[in-house]
Amino acid sequence: MSNSNDQSVYYVPHDGWYPVVLAAGLFFMVFGLGDALNAMKSGGDPGWVMSALGFSLFAVVLYFWFAKVIAENHAGLNNAQVKRSYVWGMGWFIFSEVMFFAAFFGALFYTRVLVVSWLGGDGGKAMTGDYLWPEFENTWPVMDNPDNAVFTPPEQSIQLKSFGSLFTYLPFWNTVILVASSFTVHWAHSAIKKGNRSGLVSWLALTVALGFLFVFLQGYEYWELYTHYGLTLDSGIYGSTFFILTGFHGFHVTLGAVILLVQLIRAIRGHFTATDQFGLEAGSWYWHFVDVVWICLFFLVYIV
C-alpha cells in the first residue's frame, strides 16, 4: 500500500529505529554535557566521553535518517502532499528559531532600556541606582558594572565608533559577507530551477565558502575581544548580551553552513532537479533566516 508509487496515497513510512536511538543519543549527549559542566564548576576533570559518544550516536543516526528520507524521495514515494508537509515543517521550525532569538533580543532590550537606567538612577525605579548603586552610571555600552569586584568590566567597547570608520570595521565586512552569501544561495537555487547544475554547484560552493569565512572572522573577532578588549562572557551585562546573541548566531551560521555543505555534496553527486530540490530550498531558507538575524544583530548590537 504505502510502498507503492501511487501518488494519490500519502506515504507513511514503516517502523524504524532511528527516532528512539536518536533520542537516546540526545540523552547521553546532554547528560554527559551536564556532568562535564558540573565537574568543571567544582574544579574537577570534565571527562567528555559520555557526551562525545552521545553526540556521535546522534550524528550517525541523523545521517542514516536523512539518507533514508532522500532515498525515499528518489524512489518516488513522496507525492506533492508529502512534500508540502516538509514545507510546513521547515517553515514552522524556522518560526521557532525566530522566537528563540526573540528571547535574547528581548533580554538585550530589557536590560539596555530599562535595567541599566534604573541601576543608573534614572527612570521609574531610580531609587535603585540612587540608593544601592550610587557610583553606577546609565550608559550603554556598560563599561563600568554596578559591582566591579564581582564582574570585571570590559576595557573597550566593540561598538562602531563613527560612521567614518565603517570600512575598517570587521563586523561591517562580516555583514557584507553574509548578505552576499544570501544572494549566492539564491542564485544557486535559481540555477537548479532552470536545470543548470554547474551553476548550482558553483554558487552553492561560494555560499558555503562565504559562510565558513564568516564563522572564521567571527572567531577571530572573539579572540581579539578576549585578548585586547577585555570584553568577555563575565564582563557584565554588555558582554553577556553581546556573546549570547552573536554566539548563538554564529552557532546557527555554522549549522546552516553544514546543511548547505551537505546540499553541495548532494548537488555534486547529481541530486536535485529543476522541479525537485526541497533539501536545497530548506537549507536556503534557513540561510536567509540566519542572515536576517545577523542584520538585526548588526544594527542593534554593533551600531546603535
Partner: protein, 533 residues
Amino acid sequence: MSAVIESHDDHHDHGPAKGLARWLFTTNHKDIGTLYLWFSFAMLLIGGTMALIIRAELFQPGLQFVNPEFFNQMTTNHGLIMVFGAIMPAFVGLANWLVPMMVGAPDMALPRMNNLSFWILPFAFGMMISTLFMEGGGPNFGWTFYAPLSTTYAPDSVTFFIFAVHMMGASSIMGSINIIATILNMRAPGMTLMQMPLFVWTWLITAYLLIAVMPVLAGAVTMMLFDIHFGTSFFNAAGGGDPVMFQHIFWFFGHPEVYIMILPAFGIVSHIIPTFARKQLFGYDSMVYAVASIAFLSFIVWAHHMFTVGMPLAGQLFFMYATMLIAIPTGVKVFNWISTMWRGSMTFETPMLFAIAFVVLFTIGGFSGLMLAITPADYQYHDTYFVVAHFHYVLVPGALFSIIAAVYYWLPKWCGNMYDERLGKLHFWLSFIGVNVTFFPQHFSGLAGMPRRIPDYALQFADFNMISSVGAFIFGFSQLLFMYVVIHAIRSGKQATGRVWEGAHGLEWTLPSPAPYHSFTHPPKVTAADAHG
C-alpha cells in the same frame, strides 16, 4: 544513497509489529497516541504521589514526614511533572489519536518525527527525576524557577534540570509542528477550515502557541545555564542584569503555557456536550474566534504573575486591563456550552458528567482568576493558597477532567469496547467530591493569609489544611479506580458500535470500532453532518 530503500512487499497489510518493537519503533499515530497517554498517566501518578506527600506533610502544623529541603523538591517536581509530564503529553496523545481521524488523514504528516517527539520525553523525565537522587537534591526552586534561587543558589543538579527542559521543549516543538502540518496539509478534500471539528481548531491554535513560546523558555534556561557556568550576569544586578528579567521571560512563556493546558480542553468539551445534548454546538464560529482571541491575549498579559515585583504603574495597569479582557472570550465559550445544553435532550453518561463538572468548576477557577487580575487585590492574594486554589480549579477539574472525559468518550473508538458505565459514574462522583474537598478550602486558607510553598504553617490555618489533605487522598486514590475501569474496558468490555454514542458527529465515528490501524488510507468524502457536527 538511492539504493538504501528496502522492499516492503511482505508488509502489505501493514499491521502493527509484534512485542516491544512495535512501541519502540512505531510510526503509527495511534500507537504513538497510546504511548503518550500511558506515559502521561504514569506521570500523573508520580506527580500525584508527590502532591500526596505535600498534603500529608500539611495535614497538620509542625514537621512530621519530610524536611523543608525535601518539601521544596516535592512542590517543584510536582508542578513540573504535572504540567510538562501529565497534562501536556496527554493532550498531545489525544491529538495523535484524534486529529488524523477527525480530518480524514491516513496518519500524522511527519510520522517518524512523531515517534521522536514521544521518545524524547521518557529520557527527559528520567533525567529530571534522577536529579532527586543526586547529591544536593533535585530542583527545589518552584516550577517557576526564579533566579537567583535557581542560579547562584541552586543545587548542582540544576544543570540537568536545564537540559531536561531543553529536551521537553524540543519534543513539544516537534510535536506541534507535526500537528500543524497535519491539520493544514492533510485534511480530506472538502473540509474547509471553518468546518474543522473544534478539537482540531483548538489544537491548531495551541500548537501555534507552543511553537511561539517553548523556544522562549529554552532561551530563559539557556541564560540560566550561562549565568551558572559561564559567568554571565543576565539575572544579577551586580553585573547590570536583573533577576526580574528572568520572570518576564519565564512568564512570556508561562502564561501562554497555561492556556496551552486549557484550549484543547475547550475543544474536548465542545465535542462532548453536543453529543449528549443531541444538539448541534451553539455558536461554532464564535467558539473559533474566542479561542483565537484568548490565544492572542495570552501574549500580552504575562506580567499579571508579577504584580508584586514592583513594575511601574503604567505597566501594572496595562497588564491588569489586558488580563481582565480574557474573561470576555472565555465567557463566550461558557455561554455557548450552556446554550448548547439549552433545550437539548440530555443524557448523563460519564463523559458528559465530567464535561458538565468542567464547565462549572473551570468557571469557578476563572472567577478566582479574574479576582487575581485586579492588581490591588492581588497584592493580598499573591503567593498565597488563594492562587493555589485558583490554578488547581482550572487545571484539575479543568484540564485533567477534560482529559478524563475525553478518555471515556473516545475509549470505545480506540479499543472497540465499552467501559463499565456504573464504575465510570462512581469514578466521577468520587473525583468530583474529592477535588472540591481538596481545593475549595484552599481559597479560605489563602484569604486568611497562608503563603504557598511552605512546609509548615501557623495554627489558624490548621482546619482547612486538614480538610484539604483528606480530599487529596480521596481524589488521588479514585484515580486508581479510573485505571481499573480503563484496563477492564480494554481487556473485557462489551463490544462497541461504530458510532458509539447516538448523538456523536464527526469523521472518527464513521470508522468501525476499534478504528483500523490506518484510519483513512484514501481520503473520505466530507459531508456537512460529519464535519464539526
